[in-house]
């Protein structure tokens, strides 16, 4: 029923089609392009649609652009999902504790949240990567470091409205431990509005990862779209396709995440509106 409503909007359908393609690219990358995508595959700077073995051509060092695109989808998706999951996890725990404990704990946690929102997130990510050194998990942590504040605020606001409700009161009456109440009764109910934010967080994470890689701060052992775009910059005049193609992949991925996310939120909103 709600699926049918979801697929009534052409935007949402487009979003899911794009996400499906992206997922398929990420999953099939090691099968279709089993070799190292960073290895030399042919003559350098081959233009797209010249050679059927290398349909999108090669870069300055002769690496296969299509293979890079597929393996890059893997990185983008993995980092986007992992960073979003980490931000939502940290954010909802912080928000739940702040909202449920109240008082000084709430005050301190919210000032910390303010502080994280005051510092430009990308600078914070830069600082962490530059101090610890670039690797996939550091990049994920660096992105989550600035992205958890949104979920924290929303979770806190939700918890504040939930904690006075009947089932929380009755949990108190039967003598449940406050921490148990917070995480077993309150958090699960506070989660939906936080999750509604997840598409925006995933999209932002994908874009941040790309920007970090573009600046040469991504994991050096992996292909990333941001890295490919940066790589193409050196030959921007003679071979603009090297920067343009991965960028298009990036735009479509982010767009797909937005469209799908918006479709889901709207169809659930419509369902609640009817109920």
């Amino acid at each position: 029923m709600s699926l049918r409503r979801l697929f009534r909007s052409p935007e949402a359908v487009a979003g899911f089609v794009i996400l499906g393609l992206l997922g398929a690219m990420a999953l099939t990358a090691p099968l279709l392009f089993p070799g190292d995508p960073l290895a030399i595959a042919g003559q350098p700077l081959l233009r797209p649609f010249q050679d059927w073995a290398l349909p999108l051509g090669t870069d300055r060092l002769g690496r296969d652009v299509l293979a890079g695109l597929f393996h890059g989808a893997r990185t983008s998706l993995a980092v986007g999902l992992a960073a979003a999951a980490a931000s939502i996890l940290v954010g909802s725990v912080v928000g739940t504790v702040a909202g449920f404990a109240g008082g000084l704990v709430d005050e301190v946690l919210m000032r910390i949240t303010d502080a994280f929102q005051t510092v430009p997130g990308f600078l914070l990510s830069l600082a962490l990567v530059s101090v610890v050194g670039p690797s996939l998990s550091v990049v994920v942590a660096a992105i989550a470091l600035s992205a958890w504040t949104g979920p924290a605020r929303i979770a806190r606001a939700e918890v504040l409205s939930i904690r006075e409700r009947d089932y929380v009161a009755s949990a108190r009456v039967i003598g449940m431990h406050p921490i148990e109440i917070a995480f077993r009764e309150v958090l699960p109910n506070a989660l939906p509005p936080v999750l509604a934010l997840s598409s925006v967080i995933v999209a932002a994470a994908i874009l941040t990862e790309a920007a970090l890689s573009f600046l040469g701060l991504g994991d050096p052992n992996r292909v990333t779209w941001g890295g490919m775009i940066a790589e193409g910059r050196a030959v921007l005049r003679s071979a603009p396709f090297l920067s343009v193609i991965p960028g298009i992949a990036l735009v479509f991925s982010v767009l797909g995440v937005y469209l799908a996310g918006e479709g889901v939120v709207e169809s659930t909103a419509a369902r609640e509106g009817q109920a």
Binding site: V119, F122, S130
Partner: protein, 328 residues
């Protein structure tokens, strides 16, 4: 006016703990980084082992972490942000030198995105669900998905490489000897692409917020009441619906400033604009942690100041702000 001043004072006091937390965080990052301030200083100025020891002692770096933090705070209080390895100069000097360029870039990008974004948002939100609305919504969503640095490259390919209409990079033509208006025009030409690349994503954001806000205001009774009173559609759209929907955008203007500062890193790097963002990238490139932390601190202060200004503007636009305290 009294209302705004009272609000300003409260916000100012409220931002002190936030700034303290940022400072403590910066201190921890500095501690985590390999090498300390003396290493940084000696690396740029030079010195032997004995001098290093002496410096460590006189800077209090061999003391306990708490004492070191106190010393750090004390130094910050005297506007001493440490020494930059890469530039062999005090961090604050380097940062302040680059700040105006970033402010110009951000100011222009904010003005462009806010003005165009709200205007297009009003066009879309004037008739929710119309073809125009749908088109603008999808267009803005697509724009919202475009990474600024990639847009910067594409715009460069089109306007600088192919069409040769605009300069490729830099802040102004080097050694052109231009002054006054000619120089301003030269800088403006250089800023077109960076400003567009930095601002376009926020244009999409403001458009979408305005449109969504207006759709919400349309559902409120007073828009129907205005119709019932015979107020013209144009006036309802502009003076009632858009006017009310504008308020959350003003708040967003403050929240967005931190994000835009982050965005300026890549944009300034692409266009070689000598601003704060490019400085951050240079700091990372040369492993100049004190400089990077200095940039972060100055950015945080900048964000706090911008948010204070935005709060004042908001109070001027929304008569309900601070109404409760006024009676108390």
């Amino acid at each position: 006016m009294n209302r705004a001043l009272r609000l300003l004072r409260r916000r100012l006091i409220g931002s002190i703990p936030v700034l303290l937390i940022v400072i403590v965080g910066s201190f921890l990052l500095l501690e985590a980084a390999p090498g300390d301030a003396v290493d940084a200083y000696v690396a740029s100025v030079g010195g032997d082992a004995g001098m290093i020891e002496a410096l460590r002692q006189s800077w209090g770096l061999d003391a306990s972490p708490m004492t070191r933090l106190a010393a750090y705070l004390w130094a910050l209080l005297h506007l001493d942000l440490g020494h930059s390895v890469a530039f062999s100069r005090p961090v604050l000097d380097v940062v302040l030198e680059r700040l105006p360029n970033t402010l110009l870039l951000m100011g222009a990008a904010t003005a462009l995105s806010f003005a165009l974004g709200t205007a297009l948002g009003i066009l879309a939100g004037a008739r929710p669900g119309s073809a125009r609305d749908r088109l603008l919504s999808i267009g803005s969503l697509a724009l919202y998905a475009v990474p600024g640095f990639w847009l910067a490259l594409v715009l460069t390919i089109v306007f600088s490489v192919e069409l040769r209409w605009l300069p490729l990079s830099g802040m102004e033509t080097i050694a052109s000897g231009k002054t006054g208006f000619a120089r301003a025009l030269d800088i403006a030409r250089h800023m077109v692409l960076p400003v567009t690349s930095l601002g376009l994503i926020y244009l999409a954001l403001y458009l979408r917020m305005m449109r969504a806000g207006m759709a919400e205001v349309w559902r409120m009774d007073f828009t129907l009441a205005a119709r019932a009173r015979g107020i013209g559609r144009r006036r309802i759209v502009l003076r009632h619906v858009a006017r009310n929907a504008l308020l959350p955008l003003v708040t967003m203007l403050g929240l967005q400033s931190a994000q835009m500062l982050g965005g300026s890193v890549v944009i300034e790097s692409v266009f070689s604009v000598p601003g704060l963002g490019r400085l951050a990238q240079e700091a990372v490139g040369s492993r100049d942690t004190p400089l990077l932390i200095g940039i972060i601190l100055v950015s945080a202060v900048l964000v706090i100041v911008i948010n204070l200004l935005v709060d004042i503007a908001y109070a001027a636009l929304d008569p309900r702000v601070g109404a409760n305290e006024a009676n108390a």
